[in-house]
């Protein structure tokens, strides 16, 4: 299943004004893996994600998604493989009804109208918002918007899901519902987040970024057990594994 592998080799990126954002990032993610990318604000998480679907072009190094080395010619194929869920659902949901938004991707794939509606139905059902089909996005709650945003990507049947802060701005219940939905997905998942408790629930592997480079890459529980590393990377141990008598009983 080589076409589900995400491989980044010595990726470097400088902003147009020459500020370095990524200083040589390398990793390899296998089919079905669920990987968290954590780090302080400005550590380079979002910049890294934008390379994974070819929105940014590396200053140096390479990105390989499955069989495709990311270039100008393969960018459309890469975007078909990698589903990207952006941080602000208001940016992601640009069409005027939920249906049209979720249909946007499949229509661009050139599917027939009946295939498109089948895909839309299925994607909306997967995230449990089929009843919102006709609603305009501005009349949805934050949690509903997030789910529709995920559906808008699922409808393209991507192999790899890339998510930027999927739990940001959600109330506790919407957050836990989102986590249970994501747990059912069998896609390769790459999640950039500050929500380390969610990482414990969702990701077996964690990549820590600090000032544009990877400072650690390993099993989640191992990383979160390393107090020194977390302190250097401006992170705090998730409440759940802090040994709190109340919280730890729940997990």
């Amino acid at each position: 299943m080589s076409h589900h592998i995400v491989e980044v080799k010595d990726l470097q990126y400088h902003y147009p004004d020459q500020t370095p954002a990524l200083g040589g990032v390398s990793f390899r993610i296998h089919h079905g893996e669920s990987v968290a990318i954590v780090g302080a604000n400005g550590a380079g998480k979002s910049t890294l994600l934008l390379h994974l679907n070819g929105y940014l072009t590396p200053t140096a190094g390479e990105v390989r998604i499955g069989d495709f080395l990311l270039t100008r010619d393969t960018v459309q194929d890469v975007r078909r493989t990698v589903g990207m869920v952006f941080q602000d659902p208001d940016d992601q949901l640009f069409m005027s009804t939920v249906f049209d938004d979720v249909a946007f991707g499949p229509l661009n794939l050139g599917l027939t109208p009946s295939e498109v509606s089948a895909r839309v139905e299925k994607a909306l059902e997967t995230v449990g918002v089929a009843h919102l089909k006709k609603r305009p996005p501005h009349r949805l709650s934050a949690g509903q918007k997030r789910r529709v945003a995920i559906a808008s990507v699922l409808s393209m049947s991507p192999d790899i899901l890339v998510m930027d802060e999927p739990s940001a701005g959600l109330d506790p219940r919407a957050r836990s519902q989102l986590i249970s939905i994501l747990q059912t997905f069998h896609h390769t998942k790459i999640i950039a987040t500050h929500d380390l408790d969610m990482v414990v629930d969702l990701c077996e592997r964690t990549i820590v970024m600090h000032e544009g480079v990877i400072s650690a890459d390993g099993p989640t529980m191992e990383i979160f057990g390393n107090d020194e590393l977390l302190a250097v990377s401006c992170l705090e141990k998730p409440l759940r594994i802090q040994g709190c008598p109340v919280c730890s009983r729940r997990s």
Binding site: R79, F94, F104, N108
Partner: protein, 272 residues
């Protein structure tokens, strides 16, 4: 001031929710509504400037639609009132400038100016009323798609849809800016000076441009290549046919013949 934005947001939202209802009128193909409204407006404005009597039957159409679509009359009338000043401002000159007596009702002499002023107000209520009823019974999104099906350029229809989508977000951002300003301006009762205004606008504009870039990113990552495609099947069936040709026929009939006088004669004759 933020009350103004709140009102705008409320009104758009309210019109929007009206359009979500499911009545026989709402189920019509939008093309039928659009074309019928067009015929209606052209017929109404094509009457002579002193016409009053023959405009009255045209109120039948908004009335029937308000009934069919179960629309709130009071809300629509209030909206009508809000936009009336310009027409009244222009029209109020008519009674001044045109004082020839054209109609006598008993001892009352009515000048051409008053007749044309009343006629103007009737036209205004009819045309604006029809537009409000159209949007309340069809919904903006559906209207845009109907326009596209009727031959409007796709890119323009998409522009309307996207504008509508981001209107709410931008209005919300503007509200938050005004609120933040009001909370920290103590001396001038929240009034905004030109210097502050320019910075507010500039900041809002920068955020907007950044947002456009993120939206573009989101579009690209879902396979956007310059063309936005929308599937929407509309069916112009017998109902639409009946609605459109029935009403349009009636409007044209009312325009070309003087049915009201006929009816009036009959009624007056009956009384005597």
């Amino acid at each position: 001031m933020s009350a103004k934005i709140d009102r705008v947001l409320y009104e758009i939202g309210h019109m929007d929710s009206l359009a979500e209802a499911d009545t026989p009128l709402h189920r019509l193909d939008p093309r039928a509504n659009l074309l019928t409204t067009a015929v209606f407006i052209v017929c109404v404005v094509s009457f002579g400037r002193y016409e009053i009597a023959r405009l009255l039957p045209f109120f039948l159409y908004p009335a029937v639609l308000i009934g069919l679509g179960d629309l709130p009359l009071g809300f629509l009338l209030r909206k009508l009132l809000i936009v009336s000043p310009f027409v009244i401002f222009i029209g109020i000159f008519n009674p001044w400038l045109d004082r020839t007596v054209l109609l006598q009702l008993g001892a009352l002499d009515i000048s051409g100016g008053w007749l044309s002023f009343i006629s103007l107000l009737l036209r205004f209520s009819l045309t604006v009323g029809a537009a409000l009823v159209l949007i309340a019974s069809t919904g903006f999104t559906t209207i845009c798609m109907g326009l596209e099906k009727l031959g409007a350029p796709r890119i323009f229809a998409v522009q309307l849809l996207l504008l509508y989508r981001y209107l709410f977000i931008l209005l919300d951002q503007a509200t938050r800016m005004i609120r933040a300003h009001a909370l920290r301006s103590f001396t001038r009762r929240g009034r905004i000076t030109l210097r502050v205004f320019l910075q507010m606008l500039g900041n809002l504009l920068l955020r907007t441009i950044d947002r456009a870039q993120r939206i573009h990113m989101a579009m690209l990552s879902r396979g956007f290549t310059g063309e936005i495609r929308i599937v929407r099947q509309f069916r112009f069936g017998p109902k639409e046919f009946f609605f459109m040709f029935g009403f349009s026929g009636l409007f044209i009939l009312l325009r070309l013949t003087d049915a009201v006088s006929l009816l009036g004669h009959l009624a007056l004759g009956g009384i005597r």
